[in-house]
Amino acid sequence: MNAAATLVRAPALLAVTRARARVEFLVFIREWISVVFTFIFPVLLLIILGSIFHGQRLPGDVDLAQYFVAGMIGAGLFGVSFQNVAIAIPIERDIGTLKRLAGTPMPRSAYFLGKMLMVAFVALAQNVLLLGIGSAFFGLDLPDTVGRWITYLWVIVLGIASCTMLGIAASGFVRNGRTAPAIMSPIAIVLQFISGVYFVFATLPNWMQTVAAIFPLKWIAQGMRSVFLPDGYQAQEPAGSWELDRVALVLAAWCVLAFLVAVRTFRWRARTDD
């Protein structure tokens, strides 16, 4: 079979990706459990903790609630990408969704692109909600320069890409769908605690900061702070600056690394089905 014939026989990537994204989206919104856990939960947390933190001042003329909203946007992003994908894929593997697809000529990448598009869509909706509530009730300032909006966009795009890829890679290490939530949810919660979402990052023990710096969430939260906090706060960051170049570098590195791992570990069929 030569390459030209292969091209003719495989359905166009764009069309399949669109179809996959549609399926992913329908499944996501019609399964209310996933909506509650990955979508509504961060919004509830924002309202509860935002109300508790509101009025506590941080150095650099920042309200703790403002700091927290920026972090929560990052945490929400991590939830709809990493947590969502790393839990959904092992279940889809168990019930045979992946096996059904593996038996078709669908370009494999269409499945992953479909997941990414779904994550992007959900993240977008969640961001609108978090930004709206944050600016209405917790003193969050929406970005006032084009530069900050651009930073906001690329942090979101790189954040979604790296954390979704990480979720795909992680799914390869989970044996079955029943254990996936029990493994993935604690990972996400621990990362939220050590990455400066619930606590001011600079006040965390050094070793914790070092561990957190390995993972994407710390850098996403930091990127979000650069977008939503006044520039004066920069001096309070451990490095004394937003380190946007490192944010980009670490997130891009995670995209590549997670991709390389996923290529090796991704399985389309359950272990018991070999």
């Binding site: 079979m1 014939a5 292969t6 003719v8 026989r9 495989a10 359905p11 069309a15 399949v16 669109r18 179809a19 996959r20 549609r22 399926v23 329908l26 499944v27 019609r30 399964e31 279940i91 889809e92 168990d94 019930i95 045979g96 969704t97 096996k99 059904r100 697809l101 593996a102 038996g103 078709t104 000529p105 669908m106 370009p107 069929r269 089905d273 070999d274």
Partner: protein
């Protein structure tokens, strides 16, 4: 791409073997299925039917043996090869558990995966689900869900269709409808490999059947002659003036001619019975008849 001696065979298997933790599930199977044939695998639970079929589909690894499906080793089958086959698996938990999608959503999603697929609505119509097209898969009855599964299997216009117990849970009308559908596909040249526990289904649809027991093929042949059915002793029954009579004979035609002469008119209650496929099958798998 094809060509060679296997050029007009859809499936060529020689000495296929596969064990699970040292227990053989498939223990040396040889099989040649020509293009356009409807071939049925029969055998008791655990005989190795699904294992065999899923190796041919490229879903499971084999331990040894040579396998060619449409001229390609299924373990290495790529998109261009997969575009030519259709698969209906024995298990389809995804239709129940990811049941948020409707019948139409499923058909559209699967149609998008194939380069030259059928119209989703047409396929839904074919399996008799037109009035349920907007129902969620999870809300379908078991037999309706299985019909959806069959629809998804044929949506890519396969040259070769694998059906692993496709009619489990079908009501009699749905089963007839399915038989007509398979006959239509066969007429248009589709090769079909089907497993089933319904012997009348195999008898109705299959050009040839193979009986598998413990991972080995016991016999292959047309369902009409399997196990020497066509020439085995027949039972002739009729209603004599003294009550019902039955005689076992190897020459039933002669007996019937004789009876016709004796009665001088039609013979009341006349029936000639050969062993049913079920009787032959049960004998073959060693079950007490």
């Amino acid at each position: 791409m094809s060509g060679g001696p296997a050029g007009d065979s859809a499936i060529v298997v020689s000495d296929l073997r596969k064990s699970y933790r040292g227990r053989p599930a498939v223990a040396g199977i040889d099989l040649v299925i020509p293009r356009g044939e409807v071939f049925s695998l029969l055998g008791p639970n655990g005989a190795g039917k699904t294992t065999t079929v899923e190796i041919l589909e490229g879903h499971r690894r084999r331990d040894s043996g040579d396998v060619r499906v449409l001229g390609v080793d299924p373990a290495l089958g790529r998109a261009a090869w997969k575009a030519r086959i259709g698969i209906v698996l024995q298990r389809s938990d995804d239709l129940t558990q990811a049941g948020a999608l409707t019948v139409r959503d499923w058909a559209r999603a699967m149609a998008a995966c194939f380069p030259n697929s059928r119209d989703p609505d047409e396929v839904i119509e074919l399996v008799g689900l037109a009035d349920r097209r907007n129902a969620r898969a999870a809300h379908l009855s078991g037999g309706q869900r299985r019909r959806l599964d069959v629809a998804l299997g044929i949506i890519g216009r396969p040259e070769l269709l694998f059906l692993d117990e496709p009619t489990t849970g079908f009501d009699p009308e749905a089963r007839r409808r399915f038989w007509d559908l398979i006959a239509d596909l066969a007429r248009s040249g589709t090769t079909i490999l089907l497993t089933t526990h319904y012997l009348e289904e195999a008898e109705h649809l299959a050009d040839r059947v193979a009986v598998i027991v413990d991972g080995r093929i016991m016999e292959v042949g047309p369902p009409q002659t399997l196990g020497g059915r066509a020439t085995a002793a027949a039972t002739v029954r009729w209603l004599s003036p003294d009550g019902p009579r039955s005689v076992q004979t190897c020459t039933p035609a002669a007996l019937v001619t004789d009876l016709a002469a004796r009665f001088g008119q039609d013979v009341p209650g006349l029936a000639v019975e050969r062993p049913s496929l079920e009787e032959v099958y049960l004998r073959m798998i060693g079950a007490p008849a």
